[in-house]
Every structure is written in structure tokens, then in C-alpha cells.
Amino acid sequence: MARSTFVYVTYIRTTQERLWSALTEREFMKQWWFGNYCESTWLAGGLWKNVYPDGRISDSGEIVEADPPRRLVIRWRHLDEPELAAEGDSYCTMEVEPFGTAVKLSITHTVEREPSRLITALSGGWPKVLSNLKSLLETGSATMNEPYPAAAPR
């Protein structure tokens, strides 16, 4: 079956453990994800949801694989916008690897259809979010603290 994917990579001068905390702790996440945060037990089989700053749920699913602080696979279903919700399950893989004095973060998001509006919608916002995450971990403050931008991952 045809497949749509995006792969985003960033190198961050931090440790695997600290990056893992940034990816999984609610208050940490809010700082770089424009107020969004995820809730989960972060254990394989656990439920997962992505929550807007106003408390509405944007996406939900389950943790497919969790190997802290290295690898996380989330079954990800969008709920908010009907057209994107209709595309069903997608899979988001986050990999955290040591790379010299830095850590390499790769985010791969895939859905088994081509073309995919969901992949297009999600891909628009990730670069901003990742760039924010990088500056937060490297400098202690996020570059952008504005309200949630229209094109960010939802």
C-alpha cells in the first residue's frame, strides 16, 4: 500500500536522558510545544493523548514501543479535524541516539496512504516545534513563546 512519511532530524547538545524528559514530561513539553502537552504512562500498551493548551484533545492513541531513553513509537490518531481524523491511525517514531557531544533526535511520522492530508498538516509545524525544543535544551529558553501557531502539529 502507498505510504506517506516525513522524517525530521535535529542535533541537540544535551543528554539522552534530558531529551527523553523533554519528550515525556508534561510541564517540560508545554515549554517547547506552544503549550501543548501529551499524557501517557509512557509504557508499551499505555494510552496516549495530545492535549491543546485549552484542554481539548487533539490526538489520541497508544504507546506501541517504549525503550527509554532511546525509542518511542506512538499509534497516533487525530481527533479534532474531521478530514484528518478520517485518515485513521498513523505512527510516530521518536529515536534518540548519542552523536558525539550531542544527541540526534529523529522523528518519523507515517500513514499508510498517499497522499495524506494528515502528514501534510503535521509536517508544517514540526520544524518550528523542534527548533524550539533545541533552543530550550541548549540555551534554557525557547525561541518562540507565542500562542500556538496555526500551522503547528495538531
Binding site: Y8, V9, T108, P127, L130, S131
Partner: protein
């Protein structure tokens, strides 16, 4: 990009029309193999490979193995960093006014 070296690699990677064409090709359709990219490039396979290596070193593309194939994906994260570092902070409103002026002046019969 906190490191000067990273920034140098990034601008150097962008300073070549062939490499910019490869980025445009991936933007139009992501996840292509070397063969698929070569079809659209007027250069040897070896030349395309070298350009892809430079783009990968600058983190402008990510390469994923899928079975026996290597798929190339556009990675826009460093471009976002250039945007924040070199564009957003330099008087956005005036840049916008200039872009609008340029657009109006270059419009046919405008």
C-alpha cells in the same frame, strides 16, 4: 545551530544550484531513491551521490533504509533555524513591505 561549523556546512550546502534542485525535488515528492532523483538531474549518478552526501552532512536531508533501498527525505529543521536566526529577527514588518513592493513592481502591467 549553535556551532559555527554547522552553520558553515549549512550555507555551503545551499550555495549550489544542483543541491538546491535536489531539495526542491524532495519538497515536491519526499522519500525518493537515488535512481528516482537521478532521473531529474542533468549530471552523473556519482555527482548526485556527492551532492546528497553534502546535504546529509548539513542535516538538510535524512536518509532512511527501507529493505534494500535508501530513501531520501527533506529535513527542513535547519532551514527553520536559518529563518529564526537570519530572517525573523531582522525587522519583519519592513521586509514584508519590501516583498510586497517587489511583487507589485514585478507584476506584468502592474
Amino acid at each position: 545551530m549553535a556551532d559555527r561549523q554547522d552553520t558553515d556546512a549549512l550555507f555551503k550546502a545551499l550555495a549550489d544550484p544542483g543541491r538546491r534542485r535536489l531539495l526542491d525535488l524532495l519538497h515536491a515528492h519526499d522519500g525518493r531513491t537515488l535512481n528516482q532523483l537521478c532521473e531529474h538531474m542533468d549530471m552523473t549518478r556519482q555527482g548526485v551521490t556527492q551532492h546528497l552526501d553534502v546535504l546529509e552532512a548539513a542535516n538538510l536531508i535524512a536518509v532512511i533504509r527501507q529493505g534494500r533501498e535508501k530513501l531520501h527525505f527533506l529535513n527542513p529543521v535547519p532551514l527553520q533555524e536559518i529563518y529564526e536566526r537570519w530572517l525573523a529577527k531582522f525587522e519583519k514588518p519592513r521586509l514584508k513591505a519590501l516583498a510586497e513592493l517587489k511583487h507589485r513592481l514585478e507584476k506584468p502591467n502592474g
